[in-house]
């Protein structure tokens, strides 16, 4: 566990050192949503139905944009080699990095989402459900994303290839989550879809560290 905490602390420290980083996923998120509003100029009635999707797409893009940082800088300065030849299981390191990535990008977005939901015209309850889907869903994005980054980090300019790899894996999360909010707004029970999301979370958190660490070994060699 010592190592888990050390790497977690290290990654958070590195993020805080560039103070702007801490704020940025959130700011980016807000900006994307504002862009939608500006570009679309949709009527409030239409907007409400689109709101969950807009928020979720913004969250997804925000995660995607910051994904590349997860391993690339460690790769470039040789820190990744050092991690791989360390005594510690690489998958534990990866898990720490996934958690750090989530704290830096997913958590702020999750926290601010209900407010944006209200701004887009959602009811208080619907905003709360939106919040819960993000709370369960954003860690999945970080976990699945780690596999994509680990696979592409050896390439010098892999960040766009990364999107192609990761987006198809993100789509189910997006669909289920925005569907959940819509279902709720339509007045149906959402227990089933929330439990599917939970299952995805458990699955991705338990499998992706292994896949990522295998991919990392490959990328470094």
């Amino acid at each position: 566990m010592n190592i888990f905490i050390t790497i977690l602390k290290r990654d958070l420290l590195l993020a805080i050192r560039h103070r702007a980083e801490l704020l940025n996923p959130m700011l980016f998120f807000v900006l994307v949503i504002v862009l939608f509003q500006l570009g679309m100029r949709a009527k409030p009635a239409v907007l409400v139905t689109l709101a969950p999707a807009i928020v979720w797409i913004a969250a997804l893009l925000s995660a995607l944009l910051s994904l590349d940082h997860m391993f690339r800088s460690d790769m470039e300065d040789g820190a990744l080699e050092q991690m791989i030849i360390s005594t510690q299981p690489t998958s534990l390191l990866v898990l720490a990095k996934i958690l750090a990535h989530w704290i830096i990008t997913g958590l702020p977005v999750t926290l601010i989402a209900p407010i944006l939901g209200l701004m887009l015209g959602l009811t208080g309850d619907a905003s709360l459900i939106l919040f819960f889907t993000l709370l369960i869903g954003t860690p999945i994005l970080s976990a699945i994303g780690s596999i994509g980054v680990a696979l592409t980090v050896g390439l010098r300019r892999g960040s766009v290839l990364l999107s192609i790899l990761v987006l198809p894996l993100y789509v189910p999360v997006l669909i289920f989550a925005s569907q959940t909010v819509n279902t709720f707004m339509a007045g149906y029970p959402i227990f089933a879809s929330l439990s599917v999301l939970m299952a995805m979370l458990v699955l991705s958190l338990s499998l992706s560290p292994w896949a990522s660490s295998a991919a990392l070994r490959m990328s470094v060699s």
Partner: protein
């Protein structure tokens, strides 16, 4: 079992074995295609609702089935390559990717060609099945893209195996989402072609075509694998023998 597996996994044996089988397979495959196409395009009666446009089913459905089947094959051989380091299954996986992508592409194209007369639109965004097929295409593209982007091909193969495995976890998820979403939102189309029980005279050619497609896949797979195998082993003795035209494999 394991020994058999291992022996077949040895390149020269595989090369010899596949060389013997290929002509037979090709023969059977062509026969099936001829029979199936005749049955489908000529023998089967025209659908009373869709007229002759339904006949594209004989390409669309086999291609759609194959698109998923190939992915599963690919992921499994990827797993075998990762765990037991059997070169041959690595090659199988790599050769499958572009074949699978082609099947997916064909399913998408024929589907939307079919959609125009039946649904009146090329593409229906709301339908989960179309969507999952599109995502499958993206998965294939991702795999091919990753393979071509990594220069060291041994590493590339490893990377692709991992990706294929991860992708297969995604397939049941996509599948579930189809069922799940449709119970909520009555999909406007899916019910249309799921329920009608198909007439035997239409079904049999369809099954024959499906078999023909499967054989076609196996044939292309074998040919591509042989090709790749020769290239990879180009400096080993048995390949040199083949090139020289002397000696047995």
């Amino acid at each position: 079992m394991y020994r058999w597996f291992h022996q077949l996994g040895s390149p020269p044996t595989f090369y010899k074995w596949s060389g013997q089988w290929l002509p037979w397979l090709t023969f059977v495959c062509i026969t099936l295609f001829v029979v199936g196409l005749y049955g489908g395009l000529v023998y089967a009666p025209a659908d009373y609702l869709q007229k002759d446009s339904f006949r594209i089913i004989y390409v669309h459905v086999p291609a759609a089935w194959m698109s998923m089947f190939v992915y599963v094959v690919m992921a499994f051989s990827g797993a075998i390559a990762l765990i037991w380091h059997i070169k041959l299954s690595e090659i199988m996986m790599l050769s499958s990717a572009s074949i699978g992508a082609s099947f997916t592409f064909i399913a998408l194209i024929t589907g939307s060609i079919w959609g125009k007369p039946t649904w009146g639109t090329w593409w229906e965004w709301g339908d989960a099945r179309l969507l999952s097929e599109l995502l499958l295409l993206f998965l294939y593209i991702g795999i091919i893209g990753l393979y071509s982007a990594i220069e060291d091909k041994r590493k590339a193969a490893e990377a692709v195996s991992i990706l294929a495995l991860v992708g297969i976890v995604n397939i049941p998820i996509i599948h579930y989402s189809v069922i799940f979403l449709n119970t909520l939102h009555q999909g406007p189309t899916v019910s249309k072609f799921d329920s009608p029980s198909i007439e035997t005279s239409m079904l049999i050619p369809l099954l024959i075509m499906a078999l023909a497609f499967k054989l076609f896949y196996i044939i292309v797979l074998l040919m591509r694998s042989r090709n790749e195998l020769l290239w990879r082993e180009r400096r080993s003795q048995w390949v040199r023998n083949i090139i020289k035209g002397t000696g047995n494999v």
